[in-house]
């Protein structure tokens, strides 16, 4: 199989509290993997292991190995700055910078060393078109991003993420605060984006997981209980625990 991300025996600790237990999981290139499971089971923690976002939390420890393109991201000479460009992240609460719509996207490009004005304009336009936002904002690119609706802000954050051309996009409940129409747009977007990116998405919405993902992983108390093709997880899961969770009989 053509795997983009491979996690082997990954354990993660907040101090003495082990949040992730021996996760072995591979994510196929250009696929969408949904992470589901009850609150506190470690979905966000695991997601943050993939771009080493947990590094900044004091007192944490990770063991095991995570590889992206066969390169161990916790290896000795690994370039973490470059990793953050290659692995973009979108959060539950959209977090645009208090700047213009244009600058929200241009900022990341400039940090990544793109200086050419026309090149920047081109990428900004392309990213906004990819997130189906262009038509809605093209006449007010210089207005503040804070004036956009919640759904538009979230798509702007996705545009900002893909502008720097990552390989992997991590999404932590990207649509949980959005109305159904904005949610549908984000879901559409996820399905188009997977042509060019490998996506991991955390969601509490079972139907959303079923709609957007190719594979689904069920986590429970820091353990990976089951991972399989989404279609199989939602029609005949292997484990009773998964069955109980997705049919709402968890208790």
């Amino acid at each position: 199989m053509n795997n983009k991300i491979t996690a082997s025996d990954v354990c993660f600790y907040y101090g003495n509290n082990q949040a992730i237990k021996n996760i072995n999981l591979a994510v196929e290139k250009n696929s969408v993997l949904a992470l589901i499971g009850p609150s506190g089971c470690g979905k966000s923690t695991f997601l943050r292991c993939i771009n080493r976002m947990n590094d900044i939390i004091p007192g944490t420890k990770i063991t095991g190995e995570i590889k992206i393109d066969d390169e161990s991201i916790y290896g000795q000479n690994f370039d973490v700055t470059n990793l953050r460009r290659r692995v973009g992240m979108v959060f539950q609460k959209s977090n645009p910078f208090p700047q213009s719509i244009f600058d929200n996207i241009a900022y990341g490009l400039k940090i990544n060393g793109i200086k050419d004005k026309y090149e920047i304009e081109r990428i900004v336009e392309h990213s906004l078109k990819s997130t189906a936002l262009w038509d809605e904002v093209k006449d007010r690119l210089n207005k503040s991003a804070m004036g956009l609706s919640g759904g538009q802000q979230q798509r702007l954050c996705i545009a900002r993420t893909i502008a720097v051309q990552p390989d992997v996009i991590l999404m932590d409940e990207p649509a949980s605060a959005l109305d159904p129409i904005s949610t549908q747009k984000i879901e559409e977007l996820i399905q188009t984006l997977k042509e060019n990116f490998t996506i991991m998405i955390v969601t509490h919405n079972m139907q959303q997981a079923a709609r957007v993902s190719d594979y689904t992983a069920f986590f429970y108390m820091g353990e990976l209980i089951e991972v399989n093709k989404t279609e199989i997880i939602f029609t005949k899961p292997d484990k009773e625990m998964t069955e109980n969770y997705i049919t709402g009989k968890f208790g």
Partner: protein, 223 residues
């Protein structure tokens, strides 16, 4: 305590079992009517089929409502999908039983060529196939369901045997042609009933273990 979701599933189950009881009754009564030239009973079978038709619509509505409002997954989803299809098969069994009752009416009290043996036998087999399919659903017993599928072979054979026998009769004397044709149609109806029960059993297997065994031989002894 049962959740609302479980209660709704239970409701669908109760109605499907009611439908199964009605179709068993339809088979038994239609054969009885034929055996005893009982036209009143035959009419009752035809009348009662309306109940089955109504129940079919009810169950369809409830299943669709459940799918839309609950967006079920895993075994809940498989259960509802299986019930939707089983529902259609039971309704067809009801129709086929009325076909049998209509032949009783056509024979119109005329003396039978000889006492019926194989046709009632087919009726009995069909009834026990339905019962066993529904036991399989209740007990989530895949083997029971798969046995039902094998039992269908018996019905096919009996149908063929009846057909040959009656065909011979028809050759011997033209007096019995219309009754022979009626009985051939009855046997054919029972054979079709068997096919629908086989569907029901296959759908039970899908519900129980998520495997679609339609259009597959159950074991090597089967063609």
């Amino acid at each position: 305590m049962q959740t609302h979701l479980e209660l709704e599933l239970e409701q669908i189950k109760i109605k499907i079992f009611e439908m199964a009881d009605l179709s068993i009754e339809a088979i038994i009564d239609s054969i009885e009517s034929l055996k005893n030239a009982d036209i009143t009973l035959a009419n009752k079978v035809i009348e009662k089929d309306k109940l089955i038709d109504k129940l079919e619509l009810d169950i369809d509505d409830e299943c669709i409502k459940f799918l839309v409002t609950r967006q079920p997954a895993a075994s809940d989803l498989r259960f509802v999908l299986a019930m939707l299809k089983i529902n259609t098969d039971l309704e067809r069994i009801g129709d086929l039983s009325t076909n049998i009752a209509k032949e009783t009416i056509k024979i119109d009290g005329g003396a039978l060529l000889k006492p019926l043996i194989d046709i009632p036998r087919m009726g009995e087999i069909s009834v026990s196939m339905i019962k066993q399919s529904f036991d399989a659903i209740t007990e989530k017993d895949v083997e029971k369901a798969k046995d039902v599928i094998k039992m269908d072979n018996e019905l096919d054979e009996l149908n063929l045997q009846i057909y040959r026998e009656l065909f011979t009769y028809m050759g011997e004397s033209t007096r019995h042609v219309s009754q022979c044709l009626s009985l051939i149609l009855v046997a054919k109806a029972l054979e079709r009933i068997g096919d629908h029960i086989k569907n029901i059993a296959e759908r039970s297997v899908y519900y129980i273990e998520g495997e679609d065994i339609r259009h597959k031989a159950v074991n090597k002894n089967m063609s």
